[in-house]
Symmetry: C2
Subunit: 328 residues, 2 copies
């Protein structure tokens, strides 16, 4: 019998998270039935959406999440020992699967790229950027695109994509270091929203004729203000709302409906799980751009399963630099 | 020299409107230059959007609006005396045009229908319903559609369209009389939002699996609540926000972004002036439905130019029954 470890909810998630919200426990995995495989995590990921996914879930529930894992025991000929897969058993070191809802790392996965990218630029965050800019935002060459959370795992890919596709790309980030990184990625203009005195005037200065597509990773005050900078036919792509996830007493805003109405603006939220038909196209395109050197990525790797909660909480402090990855 | 009359702003529009916001004056029209025509209003229209269009405009400005007019003097061979046109000179009895921005009543305009429909079901309000349900809302047969302001000039057409196109159609209106009218039009379910005790529970009861398309004419509290009833991939078509137009101290609401995000919902405002390429198709389709008896209309006709402000203010009291038209 194999022993695994898992992170479960300690205290239910409400407001800002602390160590008390997380509890590490051991558990035993049963023997395999025919058709099943036992896998061991190689890389795990922490992402802001997990905060919302676990809302109102009770203590003891395993925290949700994806991982790259390796088959260590197999009673399923499709997945021999040694196969690498992407699976979503939550924050666990070991899990059993019957093959449903898992996917092999593609045989064409570039050999020179780390497998952890399957959780980032070649995984959920990359797909989110791709789906958001194409299907949802429908960016066109020559348009002005603004990306909030521009240094983040999704924002950094989204902005680079818009550049590759011929747009003028503006962005905001929360520190000078992040601003410098985003400029390296090729964004046309970036500012530190924590330092700029008048954000509204700054955006007006950078885009006096308005924004065509606002790729939103933050929500809250910033996004409510951005809506007023949208041009006629503007599209707000709501990909994340990290500033809202930890709020217990959410702020209130005047209705945005009149503004949407008179400028024919669309505000379109999306979750990439609702657009699985676009995954293969997204991954093929993103891989091509990475291999041609047009799309850069950066990972912020934390070593050790025991450090997952710390890496997760850091996301909400704006402390991470690149896609947050946990290495076993 | 011809004398005309026009309604101009008395006191700038702010908050609820009263007689003091409107001032009737006479004015002289100059003689025609070559290429110009003098037209006289036959039917005028009052619509809620005018409240927003005139916001922050000073006293003395002519109030904006469309009319069906007849050419009474012509120095333009394209528009001989007697031609009927649709033009937007504002709330005036007489105006001069050089032909720009006006349109002749189509020679195929059904002879048995009143010309005033060119300001309603075969004009702006009909087009808004058509564009909102097709281009913006992309309704599909079998979907559940909810129309607020269901008895209104736009809502009544929007709901009938959705029925013709194979949807299940729910609606809300502000009086029992309106509810009865909307039921006559063939809506599947309608309720009086002023009488129902728990609107939220009522909607849940009528659409336990949620709403695919919400065609919104009202905005405010009602619409913020409706967003929570939207299904995955739901579309909120923001066509009007009449409950918000007269507010001086707008109510505030929690951000809707997280909800849009997790259910992949689109909130899309539109103004039909931004979709002129769809006008011919809209009018052709609506005419066909009217002539086949599939699309019913109702007009609420006020006689006399002097009564325009009264007819306009009535829109915001929910007092009108059908498309508000002024007959000269």
């Amino acid at each position: 019998m194999v022993q695994g470890k898992r992170w479960v909810i300690g205290k239910p998630f409400e407001g800002s998270l602390t160590d008390a919200n997380f509890h590490l426990e051991e558990f035993s995995l049963p023997n395999l039935n025919d058709g099943e495989i036992l896998v061991e995590a190689v890389y795990l990921t922490v992402d802001p959406y997990m905060r919302m996914a676990m809302i109102s879930r009770p203590a003891g529930d395993t925290i949700a999440g994806e991982q790259v894992a390796k088959v260590v025991e197999s009673k399923n000929a499709e997945y021999p020992v040694g196969t690498h897969i992407v699976t979503s058993p939550g924050w666990v070191t070991h899990s059993i699967s019957n093959g449903e809802g898992i996917s092999k790392i593609d045989p064409n996965y570039p050999k020179d790229l780390p497998l952890s990218l399957a959780l980032g630029t070649l995984g959920m965050t990359g797909r989110s950027a791709y789906i958001g800019m194409t299907e949802i935002g429908q960016i066109k060459a020559g348009e002005t695109v603004f990306v909030s959370g521009a240094a983040g795992a999704v924002g950094s890919v989204a902005g680079q994509m818009a550049k590759i596709m011929g747009c003028r790309v503006l962005g905001s980030a929360g520190s000078d270091e992040k601003v410098a990184y985003v400029k390296e990625l090729g964004f046309d203009e970036v500012f530190n929203y924590n330092k700029v005195k008048d954000i509204d005037a700054t955006i007006k200065g950078l885009a006096p004729n308005g924004i065509d597509v606002y790729f939103d990773n933050v929500g809250g005050d910033f996004s409510m203000m951005m809506i007023k900078h949208m041009r006629i036919y503007g599209r707000v792509v709501v990909c994340g709302a990290i500033s809202e996830y930890n709020l217990t007493d959410p702020q209130k805003y005047p209705s945005i409906f009149c503004h949407l109405l008179f400028n024919s603006i669309k505000v379109h939220g999306f979750t990439n799980f609702h657009y699985t038909q676009l995954y293969p196209k997204a991954i093929a395109q993103l891989s091509e751009w990475i291999q041609k050197g047009q799309l850069k990525y950066r990972e912020d790797v934390t070593e050790g399963f025991q450090n997952m909660p710390k890496a997760f909480m850091a996301l909400f402090l704006g402390a991470n630099k690149g896609k947050a990855i946990i290495k076993m």
